[in-house]
């Protein structure tokens, strides 16, 4: 266990109100179910993965590796998984987040950077550029939301089409080339750190704690569970369903834009295929963390642990002497295993 996790768990546990916790369970089965309910079912798997990691590589269990590799590299995934978890809890999807990770920073960087470095040559002010990144994310979320909420179109299809559209636009804007040599202020969030801890990790942690508290204590947070579990009942209970859903889509797009900014900073470039395929890991993290695809069930802590598991596994695979071509296959096998394992204890 890292320092980081030891800090994290009590913080999030505080959010799961002690008053609502059921009496201590008795059997193994019910113990697992209790863990599932708290979003903690991945914890034993993470412990096993940490032990395996320590055996495979002496580098793994060092603070440097855990903080500046595992956590730093999963911060982007963590923010995306948070956005997707909120969507899933409300019984909707947002697949387009992986494309927002690409398009939002790509457009901003394109407008900021000089033409010889892959930009348009508009020399936009960096502060405006950063605002633009969030505006693009929010706008994409708003369009998704209007199409899904107002027109009642299928959430999966709309956000998938949006994913394809934005991916094409990103390639079109960048001309398929990297945009690099960006101003320091644009890469700040992704590169800077407070002491040994990268700012992007701090942002991710703060967001998770805030989201967990919001879901548990805030009226709207509870309403998200309500509309995900039974929309009609929630409506009857006075929740303004359409408005809340629209807000969630905008939030999801904005968070994806933040993730894009963090990724751009870390890489110090905008890649034309930035974010591609990330939605796979995002869904895997959420589902492994016990977030139901049918809405209304799941915990932020669970999603967070799912992200940590995926990040740790990826790190161990990189550290191991496995041929890079087999990493994907092993990663896939582990995901399949984790989904199977989580099924054993999920009370669907």
């Amino acid at each position: 266990m890292t320092d980081y996790e030891e800090n994290m768990i009590p913080a999030a546990e505080g959010s799961s109100a002690a008053a609502l916790r059921p009496a201590p369970p008795k059997t193994v089965q019910s113990r697992l179910r209790w863990l599932q309910g708290q979003g903690l079912v991945v914890l034993p798997i993470i412990v096993v993965v940490f032990i395996v990691g320590a055996i495979i590589s002496p580098v793994f269990l060092t603070v440097t590796n855990l903080v500046s590799n595992v956590l730093y590299q999963t911060a982007v995934l963590a923010v995306l998984a948070l956005a997707e978890t909120l969507m899933l809890l409300s019984n909707r999807f947002d697949l387009s987040i992986e494309s927002v990770v690409g398009i939002a920073p790509a457009v901003a960087a394109w407008l900021i950077v000089a033409p010889e470095l892959g930009g348009k040559g508009v020399y936009l002010d960096v502060a405006v550029g950063i605002l633009l990144i969030f505006a693009i994310g929010a706008a994409v979320g708003l369009i998704n939301g209007l199409l899904v909420v107002k027109l009642g179109l299928n959430t999966f299809m709309i956000t998938l089409a949006m994913l394809i559209l934005l991916r094409g636009l990103t390639l079109g804007v960048t001309g398929g080339a990297m945009i690099f040599n960006m101003p320091r202020s644009l890469t700040y969030i992704g590169r800077a750190s407070v002491g040994p801890v990268p700012i992007s990790v701090l942002i991710a942690v703060v967001l998770y704690v805030a989201a967990a508290l919001f879901l548990r204590y805030h009226r709207l947070g509870k309403a998200i569970y309500a509309i995900g579990g039974n929309e009609e009942a929630a409506r009857a209970g006075g929740v303004r369903v359409e408005r809340l859903r629209l807000g969630l889509y905008v939030l999801s797009g904005t968070l994806a834009a933040l993730a894009g900014l963090m990724l751009t900073g870390r890489q110090a470039t905008v890649l034309p295929n930035q974010g591609q395929g990330m939605v796979f890991s995002v869904f895997a993290a959420a589902v492994i963390g016990g977030v139901s695809l049918n809405g209304g069930r799941g915990k932020m802590l669970g999603a967070f642990l799912g992200v940590v598991l995926i990040g740790t596994v990826q790190n161990i695979l990189t550290l191991s002497h496995l041929s890079s071509f087999w990493i994907d296959a092993v990663f896939g096998a582990i995901i399949v295993g984790a989904v199977l394992l989580s099924k054993v204890t999920v009370r669907e």
């Binding site: 299809m157 094409g168 636009l169 896939g332």
Partner: protein
């Protein structure tokens, strides 16, 4: 409402179990061509306006294509570019549509398109060209390719139907696994120098028309006739529309569902052979990203992600629509990434317009864009 069962009285647009028993009482079934014709006419009752809703758009696109480029409306372009290049997509679209109609998902089909021909090629190609050097007969290799597809279908079916895992997420995970295995098997290399027998489906022609185009047409015709006329085809709608009712009428829901997974895997392997034949090689990335287009086309063609609804005629029109638009943009020398963007835009606009234009979509309207919940429906039926 939370579950699909509450929405099921949409059976008028799809022959669910009720229609199944009414339309094909076993004692009144007639054999031969007369019976076939009678059943075909009877099944017209189920054909709805929305089966053809995309046809005007397709006509407009064809007119625009003919105006924009003199090459577009030539037989050579239509057969060798529009149809041949979308044949692999079309086969996977039909496979995925069958799964969707039965209320299931299989995202891993795109990885079968890569993995199945890769295994076959590995067993043929010599060691220096990146293979295993086993030099097995190409005919055996083709059988192995098909077997790999079917086997993956068996595995996916087992995970979804036996273990009752969510078909979306588990096939997502399997996709990562199979794709990783494809990459690992060849260390990211492409395998070329393949024997002509293995390339046959994707490269040869019958009567001046590529075999892949014949296949394209054949899968749609067979799937349409199967779904419309065969009792088992009706059963596919029934188990997708209302699994518990289907079970109550005596259908073996699990066996049919599993069978569809196997057929879909097999079809994806055939699509892999078609693709391999066309480019005369198996690449490590073959099929990557295909599933996005497949799902887009299926849904554009009116196949419900909630199961129980979908017509092959409109899926065919949707496939042709996307194929024609892609071809026109290529002829106009639009860079490929703008084609991708156009693709997404077309899907968004078509979905929005068809909704605004008042295309009645009972389930969608009620659910306000909800996501498929096969698990919940299954749970309720127990």
């Amino acid at each position: 409402m939370k579950n699909r069962l509450a929405n099921t009285p949409r059976s008028e647009s799809a022959p669910t179990s009720a229609a199944l028993s009414v339309d094909t009482p076993p004692d009144q079934k007639r054999g031969g061509m007369v019976g076939l014709a009678e059943r075909l006419i009877a099944s017209r009752r189920h054909a709805r306006f929305q089966d053809w809703a995309l046809l005007p758009i397709l006509v407009v696109v064809f007119i625009i294509g003919a105006v924009a480029s003199p090459t577009f409306f030539t037989a050579s372009n239509l057969f060798h570019n529009v149809l041949q290049q979308s044949a692999a997509l079309a086969i996977v679209v039909v496979a995925e549509s069958l799964l969707l109609i039965s209320g299931k998902f299989d995202v891993s089909l795109e990885s079968i398109v890569g993995l199945a021909p890769m295994v076959g090629a590995l067993l043929i190609v010599s060691v220096e060209a990146g293979g295993l050097g086993l030099h097995i007969s190409p005919y055996v290799a083709i059988l192995i390719v098909l077997a790999v597809g079917a086997l993956i279908g068996v595995v996916n079916g087992a995970l979804v139907i036996r273990l009752n895992l969510n078909s979306f997420i588990i096939t997502f995970a399997m996709l990562i696994l199979w794709r990783g295995i494809t990459l690992g098997l060849t260390s990211g290399q492409s395998l070329s120098a393949l024997p002509s027998q293995l390339l046959y489906l994707g490269s040869a022609e019958w009567f001046g028309v590529p075999i892949s185009v014949w296949l394209f047409i054949a899968v749609f015709v067979v799937a349409e006739l199967f779904l419309r006329l065969n009792p088992l085809g009706r059963a596919v709608y029934a188990i997708g529309g209302n699994p518990s009712a289907a079970r109550a009428t005596g259908l073996n829901v699990n066996r049919i569902g599993w069978g569809i997974y196997i057929v879909a895997g097999l079809m994806a392997a055939v699509a892999g052979l078609v693709l391999t034949g066309r480019i005369a090689a198996v690449t490590a990335a073959q099929g990557n990203g295909l599933i996005f287009s497949v799902l887009a086309v299926a849904v554009l063609g009116g196949v419900s992600l909630d199961g129980g609804r979908g017509r092959m005629t409109s899926v065919l029109i949707a496939t042709l629509l996307l194929a024609a638009i892609t071809n026109i943009l290529v002829l106009l020398q639009v860079p490929s990434f703008w084609i991708d963007a156009a693709y997404g835009a077309i899907i968004l606009v078509t979905l929005a317009v068809s909704k605004l234009g008042g295309r009645k979509d009972g389930a969608g309207r009620k659910k306000r864009g909800g996501i498929a919940k096969p698990q919940q429906a299954a749970e309720l039926s127990e």
